[in-house]
Amino acid sequence: MNQFFIFVKKEWLHIWRDRRTLFILIWMPIVQIILYGFALTNEVKNADVAVFNQSNDVATTTIINEINASRYFNVIKYLNSYNEIGSTFRQGKIRMAIVFPPNFQDNLLQKNYAQIQLIADASDPNTANTLTNYATAIIHDYQQSLNQNKDLPYTINTNLRMLYNPELKSAYSFVPGVMALVLMLVCAMMTSIAIVREKELGTMEVILVSPLKPFRIIIAKTIPYLFVSIFNIACILLLSVYVLNVPINGSLVLLVMESILFTITALAIGILISNAASTQQSAMFTSLLSLFLPTLLFSGFLFPIESMPWPLQIISNIVPAKWYYIIVESVMIKGLGFWAVWKETLILVVMTLVLLGISIRNFKIRLA
């Protein structure tokens, strides 16, 4: 056992003495949480719009002011001709153009009917949709204010309640995603590189002739990274509670235990990659392309899985991060207990056992 701890210590010193790597391992989750918490949001707001107003009357000015006053739009330009719309779009300055036809107010008050044209830059379909919806809502509000004194008969009101996240903050879905991403990165990527590095530099030979069993060699290599990840989890949770105000509604112990389970899954993947790769470069790129991107895409925190084509929905099931994300979301945000996540936990356990089994069987005691 003593030998084993010496190995762990050796591995730890490797990490500890490479200050730049350690610096990044510790700062990566912190920077990510801060970026996701404060800078990045799926919401659409402050979109720049241009107005082509052919009426210039009270009604159009009021509507433009209402639109400009909302937090979704900034009116940045008034256009003088229809042709200008195209060139302004091409310069990438605006997301939407609003066109008022001539005699807007006269039509509205006398014929009770007027038109507005909204031209959205649909190269980003989602933003285009959202902006059109917002603008339509503002225009409808204005229309409603015109016939305020008339009470409409046969009205269905909808009472809307946003559960778990009434302010619709993006941080609620990003925090669990960042946890999955960081753990996957630190554990799988770093272990695989650390093991392959010894192969590439030739020091693996020295280790392999030592009396320690191969199984223990691998475990010793992974333990320091396990500790780094636990430290990272602690940082992320502290930041999300005290800086982003995302609460931990469920049991903290359960959350930490599940995170450690996921960490072990990630370590197993790291060992597997290191078995297959012969150079650090190929280990890095394999982990980058086969772990980082799938975790980003298939964990469901950036893109809804149910909108993907069905083959990808099936593939997403073999990405461990997806299950971990569901677990964190349920425990941390919804505040559910183990009864709600035992299935996901079981899947992670089985994945981990299979991965560890394969990687230990394939661990070569002899170098080629």
């Binding site: 730049r20 990044i24 391992l25 700062w27 990566m28 970026l35 404060f38 800078a39 949001t41 799926n42 659409v44 402050n46 720049d48 310069q91 990438g92 009770n112 009917y113 038109q115 031209i119 190269s123 379909p125 989602n126 285009a128 949709n129 959202t130 919806n133 603008a135 339509t136 225009i139 229309q143 015109l146 016939n147 008339k150 008969p153 046969y154 269905i156 009101n157 909808t158 009472n159 809307l160 309640r161 946003m162 559960l163 778990y164 996240n165 879905s173 590095r197 470069q281 190929s282 980058l288 392309l289 991107l293 895409l297 950036l302 809804p304 909108s307 993907m308 569901i326 349920s330 945000i333």
Partner: protein, 372 residues
């Protein structure tokens, strides 16, 4: 110049003789480009709906039919009570609950006023926002049709109506891959270019072969150029492969000129490769270099407007994006491919990226020291 020629020969041989580099450089990005845009789809459809219908009337049935027929919603289950429906939200079986109260039809007809309850799982804010907007729209339309049934409107509608007409330019079919593919191509080029450049010099350091170069009469600038040019050419080849895939698989034909794309890419790649080489001159091990490059590129990609819109960021974050070369490239790719912008439209971006290229490469040449 002769020195440079030999250096290039050496670098190209090293690249072509390592099959793993080749695999990573071509097969991986192409596979990514085919799969990623299919996955990176923000379009919200198939929202799972749980209905608590306590009225069981003709009216509630029509409303439910209208909602399911809209195509946005999938009716997951009828729950008897609201708490039961809430549980299907907890277990992620439903995203949205619609509760139709008892006497819905009676109250609507007799009292002329009735309330419906909608609850959304708002952990994913955008999904909850769009889902509830869709359902409210459907309810409103339904409301309108009920009203039409019960009141005889005069021939000329007494209330003023503003008719909002929409048009979606540049992508009228709202095709999401059109938007994502150019951005993802940029992301892949950036990851590959910067990481390869970042690993290259440091690999020679780690394996000790840098000694031989240090004692040879190669000038610093030749050495850096010798590293830069091969990856620059290979990255342009990857770009070409990417554009071909975009055209063949996703049917994306740029409205602007291919030449505009290539001119901008050529300058951009100099900048991003220069950044990689710069990191490489400072790092001691490949692990270190890779991690630093990965860290920077990750921040660059997140802050580039690829996945989330830039104008929604707070001001300080928008200032950061001005110092991010990836932002400019993504902007330009989307502008040229989707809107047909020309060189004159993107001149600001060209100057910005040119500045990055000079800055990074200049620094890399200065910081590369032949003494270890």
């Amino acid at each position: 110049m002769r020195v440079l020629k030999f250096l290039l020969q050496k670098e190209f041989r090293q690249i072509f003789r390592d099959p793993s580099i080749f695999r990573v450089l071509f097969i991986a990005p192409i596979a990514q480009l085919i799969i990623l845009p299919l996955a990176a789809n923000y379009q919200i459809k198939n929202i799972n709906l749980a209905v608590v219908d306590q009225d069981h009337s003709q009216y509630s049935q029509i409303l439910i039919n209208k909602i399911t027929a809209s195509g946005y919603f999938r009716l997951k289950d009828y729950s008897a009570t609201f708490p039961q429906a809430l549980q299907s939200i907890e277990l992620d079986k439903a995203d949205l609950v619609l509760e139709i109260p008892n006497h819905f039809q009676k109250d609507l007809v007799k009292e002329s006023k009735v309330n419906l309850f909608v609850a959304a799982n708002a952990i994913n804010g955008i999904k909850a926002g769009l889902g509830s907007a869709y359902i409210q729209q459907i309810i409103q339309n339904y409301n309108q049709s009920v009203r039409m049934q019960w009141i005889q409107f005069p021939r000329f509608d007494p209330q003023p109506i503003i008719d909002v007409e929409y048009s979606n330019w540049y992508n009228p079919n709202m095709n999401y891959p059109y938007f994502m593919v150019p951005g993802i191509l940029v992301m892949l080029l950036t990851i590959i270019g910067s990481n390869f450049a970042a690993l290259n010099i440091v690999k020679e350091k780690e394996l000790g072969t840098i000694e031989q170069i240090n004692v040879s009469p190669i000038k610093k600038i030749h050495f850096i150029l010798g590293k830069l040019i091969p990856f620059w050419i290979l990255s342009l080849v990857v770009l070409t492969a990417g554009l071909i895939i975009a055209r063949v698989i996703y049917g994306i034909i740029p409205l602007g000129h291919y030449l505009t794309i290539y001119i901008f890419s050529a300058i951009y790649l100099l900048a991003i490769l220069g950044l990689g080489l710069l990191l490489s001159t400072y790092a001691q091990t490949q692990q270190q270099s890779f991690l630093v490059a990965f860290f920077l590129i990750m921040i660059f990609n997140l802050m580039s407007g690829l996945f989330t819109p830039i104008e929604s960021m707070p001001h300080w974050a928008q200032v950061i994006t001005w110092f991010n070369p990836v932002t400019y490239f993504i902007e330009v790719m989307r502008m040229v491919i989707l809107k047909g912008s020309g060189l004159a439209d993107i001149k600001n971006q060209i100057f910005a990226v040119l500045g990055f290229a000079v800055f990074f490469n200049g620094w890399a040449i200065l910081s590369y020291s032949k003494r270890s």
